[in-house]
C-alpha cells in the first residue's frame, strides 16, 4: 500500500533545551539500570549467590515494565512532537518484542538442549542430538506429510466457498438470513465442534451421521477407523468451521466488482459460464489469493479438533504437527525436543510461505 506514511506532515518548532535532554537521557538510562539490576539480582539469587531463595523472576519482569514505560515517556521529553508520534507505535513494538522476539531467542536456546520438566535435573545442552532424533522420527515426518494433505484440502474448501459466495451475491431472497446461518459454524469453538460433530454425530452406533451412512448403504460406518477416512473426516470438520471465513472474504470481493464490468461482458455476449471464467474469476484473483493465504496460515495451526477427536490416531494418520508436539510434551514432558520440532516447523513454514508468495507475485506480475 503506497498511500502509507507521512500523510500528516506537520512542521513544529520544538525547542528542546539541554536540561530537558539530560532529563530524557537520565530517564532512559536510569530505568535501564534498574532493569539490569533486577536481572542481575534474579540471576544471582537463582544461583544461590545471595543466600536467598528465588521464588520467581517477577522482579526482572517489573524491571522491564519500568524501563518500557520510562522509555516511552522519554521519547516525548527528548524529541517533543516527533516523540509523540513514536508513541503510537512504541507500546505495541515493546509488547511484541517482549512476547515474541525474546521467547523466540529463548526457544532457540531450549531447542538445543535436553530438558525434561518433570525430572529434577533441569536443562542440559546437547547440541545437535535433537536434530538427529527429529531426522529419525517417522511420526514427525508423517505429521508434516499430513499437513501437506490438510493444506491441499484448502482447494476444495475454496471451490465450495466461491460457489456459495456467488450464490449469495446473486439475486436471492432472504440473503441476510442465509448469510447469518452460513456464518454460524465459524463462531463455534473447535473443542465444542469436536464433541458436537466428531464425538456425537459421528458416533458409530447412535450418531445421526452414522445412521445416515447406514441408510445410504455403508454397512458399518466408522469415521475414525481407517486412516484415509479418519483424515478425510478431520478435513471435513475443519472445512465446516472455516468455509464461512473464505466465503465472507470472497463475497466482499464479489460485491466490490463494479456492476458495469459484468454488464459490459454480458452485452459482449459472455454469459453464464464464460462470463464467470473470463471476467469474474480473473477480477477475483487478488482477493482469492489473499483468502487462500490467510486460510493456509490458519490451517497450519490446526490442532484443537485433532487433539480432542482422534488425538492423532489411528497410528498417527491424522496428526498435525501441532497436535503431535502437544502429545509429545504431554507424554514425555520433554521441552527441548518439542521446541526443536516446533522451530523446525516454523522454518519450513516460513520457507514454504515465502516461496508461495514469490510464485504468486511472479504469476500475477509477469516480467517479460
Amino acid at each position: 500500500m503506497s498511500a502509507e506514511g507521512d500523510l500528516l506532515h506537520v512542521v513544529t518548532s520544538d525547542q528542546i533545551g539541554p536540561a530537558r535532554e539530560r532529563l530524557g537521557r537520565g530517564l532512559i538510562w536510569g530505568s535501564f539500570g534498574v532493569m539490569v539490576l533486577a536481572f542481575v539480582y534474579c540471576t544471582l539469587a537463582d544461583n544461590g549467590a545471595l543466600g536467598l531463595e528465588l521464588t520467581n523472576w517477577r522482579p526482572a519482569l517489573y524491571g522491564y515494565l519500568i524501563w518500557a514505560t520510562c522509555f516511552c515517556i522519554a521519547q516525548v521529553v527528548l524529541y517533543g512532537e516527533q516523540g509523540k508520534r513514536r508513541l503510537f507505535l512504541l507500546p505495541a513494538t515493546l509488547f511484541v518484542v517482549a512476547m515474541v522476539i525474546f521467547p523466540l531467542i529463548f526457544a532457540l536456546g531450549i531447542a538445543f538442549s535436553n530438558w525434561n520438566l518433570s525430572s529434577l535435573e533441569g536443562r542440559s545442552f546437547n547440541g545437535w542430538d535433537n536434530a538427529r532424533q527429529a531426522w529419525g522420527d517417522p511420526f514427525y515426518w508423517n505429521a508434516l506429510k499430513n499437513m501437506v494433505y490438510y493444506t491441499l484440502a484448502i482447494l476444495v474448501e475454496y471451490t465450495i466457498a466461491f460457489g456459495l459466495a456467488l450464490i449469495l451475491a446473486s439475486q436471492i431472497r432472504a440473503r441476510k438470513l442465509f448469510r447469518v446461518a452460513f456464518l454460524l459454524p465459524l463462531m463455534l469453538s473447535p473443542v465444542a465442534v469436536s464433541w458436537m460433530v466428531g464425538k456425537s454425530m459421528m458416533e458409530a452406533r447412535f450418531g445421526p451421521l452414522a445412521r445416515l451412512g447406514r441408510e445410504l448403504g455403508w454397512d458399518r460406518p466408522s469415521f475414525f477407523g481407517d486412516p484415509e477416512i479418519a483424515r478425510a473426516t478431520i478435513m471435513v470438520m475443519d472445512a465446516w468451521t472455516f468455509i464461512p471465513f473464505m466465503m465472507i472474504m470472497i463475497l466482499a470481493g464479489l460485491q466490490a466488482i463494479p456492476k458495469e464490468v459484468q454488464e459490459a461482458a454480458k452485452v459482449d455476449g459472455a454469459n453464464g459460464w464464460r462470463g464467470f471464467w473470463e471476467v469474474t474469476f480473473p477480477l477475483m484473483l487478488p482477493v482469492s489469493l489473499t483468502a487462500i493465504l490467510i486460510r493456509i496460515i490458519f490451517k497450519l495451526k490446526l490442532a484443537d479438533i485433532i487433539i480432542n477427536v482422534t488425538s492423532g490416531g489411528p497410528g498417527g494418520a491424522t496428526d498435525s504437527v501441532t497436535s503431535f508436539i502437544f502429545r509429545e510434551y504431554r507424554d514425555r514432558s520433554n521441552v527441548g525436543y518439542g521446541t526443536f520440532l516446533a522451530i523446525l516447523y516454523l522454518v519450513l513454514i516460513v520457507l514454504a510461505i515465502t516461496a508461495f508468495m514469490k510464485a504468486v507475485d511472479r504469476w500475477m506480475n509477469p516480467r517479460y
Binding site: 503510537f88 523466540l104 526457544a107 448469510r179 446461518a181 454460524l184 473443542v191 470481493g253 518439542g338
Partner: protein, 305 residues
C-alpha cells in the same frame, strides 16, 4: 374474444422453465447448506434435553418423537429444579465461564487499543527504526500471524513458570493479545486509510495536538472498525484451546479446556455433554446472530483494497 396479437415466442417459454429450474437449484443448494450449517447446533441443543433411550433410538424432533427432559441441564446444575440448590458442577461451570469471559474481553480490548494506535501511526506518519521503514514495520507486525502457536507454547510454559504467571489470567490475556494483535492491526489500518487526512489537518489547524485529534476526531469515526476488530478478536480468544490447555490447570482454566476434559472422560454421558457444549457455544451464537454485520465487515477488511 379477439386473438392476442402480442405474445411470447415459444422459445421464451422454454427459457422461463429453465429460469425456474435454475431458481430451484439455487434455493436447493442454499437450503442444503443451511441444514449442513445449522444441524449440528440443532442436534446439540436437542440432545441436551434427551434421555438415553431417545439418543439410542435416534429421536430428533422434540414433542414429536421424544419429550424434552431437563436431565442434561440437571447435571450442569442449570435447570429449574436445581436453581435454588447448591451445585458444585454449576460453580465449576460458572468459574470457567467467568475466566473465559474475563480473559477474552480483556485480551480483545488490549489488542484493539494497541492495534489501533499502531495502525493509526503506520497510516499517517513516516517512521524509521534503524533499517526498518513503514512497509517493513507493517510487515513485522503482520508476519506475527504466520507464527504457529506451537513455537511459542513450550518456551512460554517455561518462562511463565519462572515468572509465576502459569495458571493465571494475566498470563493468558497477554498471550491472547499477542495472537490477535496482527488481525486487529490489519483491520484498523484499512479503516484508518479510508478516513481522509483533511479531517486531522483541520483539527490540527484548530489547535488540537496529534493525540487530541486521534482521540476526539478519528477514533469516533473509526468506531465501527474497532467494534469489528473487537468482535473478531473475541471470537478467536473465546474459542482458543491450545494455549489454555498447556498453560492453565486449576485457577485460570477456561471453558474450552473444561469442555475438552469432559469429552475425554468416557462413558458417553450424552445429555450432560450436550448441555455443556450448548452452554459453551451459546454466547458466541448470540453474538454471531446479533452482530453479524460487524463480523462480516471485519473479515472483509482485508479482501477489498
Amino acid at each position: 374474444m379477439a386473438e392476442q396479437i402480442f405474445h411470447d415466442h415459444e422459445s421464451d417459454h422454454g427459457h422461463r422453465a429453465k429460469w425456474f429450474a435454475g431458481r430451484v437449484a439455487v434455493y436447493g443448494i442454499l437450503l442444503l447448506w443451511t441444514v449442513i450449517c445449522l444441524f449440528p447446533i440443532y442436534w446439540t441443543i436437542t440432545t441436551s434435553f434427551k434421555l438415553a433411550p431417545d439418543v439410542m433410538k435416534g429421536n430428533m424432533v422434540p414433542w414429536w418423537d421424544f419429550t424434552p427432559k431437563w436431565k442434561g441441564w440437571d447435571s450442569l446444575g442449570i435447570s429449574p429444579k436445581y436453581w435454588a440448590v447448591e451445585s458444585t458442577v454449576r460453580e465449576e461451570f460458572l468459574k470457567r465461564f467467568t475466566n473465559s469471559a474475563i480473559v477474552s474481553v480483556s485480551a480483545s480490548l488490549l489488542a484493539v487499543v494497541l492495534g489501533s494506535m499502531t495502525a493509526y501511526g503506520l497510516s499517517r506518519f513516516r517512521y524509521k527504526f534503524g533499517f526498518m521503514r513503514n512497509p517493513d514495520i507493517s510487515f513485522f507486525f503482520l508476519s506475527q500471524l504466520i507464527l504457529p502457536p506451537v513455537v511459542l507454547a513450550l518456551p512460554f510454559l517455561v518462562l511463565y513458570k519462572e515468572l509465576a504467571l502459569l495458571d493465571t489470567r494475566i498470563g493468558l490475556i497477554l498471550l491472547y493479545t499477542l495472537t490477535v494483535l496482527p488481525i486487529v492491526i490489519w483491520i484498523m489500518r484499512d479503516q484508518f486509510l479510508s478516513i481522509p487526512v483533511e479531517l486531522e489537518e483541520a483539527a490540527l489547524v484548530d489547535g488540537l495536538s496529534v493525540w487530541g485529534a486521534f482521540v476526539t476526531i478519528i477514533l469516533p469515526i473509526a468506531l465501527p472498525g474497532m467494534v469489528a476488530a473487537f468482535i473478531l478478536s473475541l471470537v478467536l480468544t473465546w474459542n482458543e484451546y491450545f494455549f489454555a490447555a498447556l498453560l492453565t490447570s486449576t485457577d485460570a482454566k477456561t471453558l474450552p479446556v473444561m469442555v475438552a476434559s469432559q469429552t475425554g472422560s468416557q462413558g458417553i454421558n450424552w445429555w450432560s455433554m450436550a448441555a455443556l457444549s450448548t452452554a459453551a457455544i451459546f454466547p458466541l451464537v448470540i453474538i454471531g446472530v446479533v452482530l453479524e454485520r460487524y463480523i462480516i465487515k471485519g473479515m472483509a477488511a482485508g479482501a477489498v483494497k
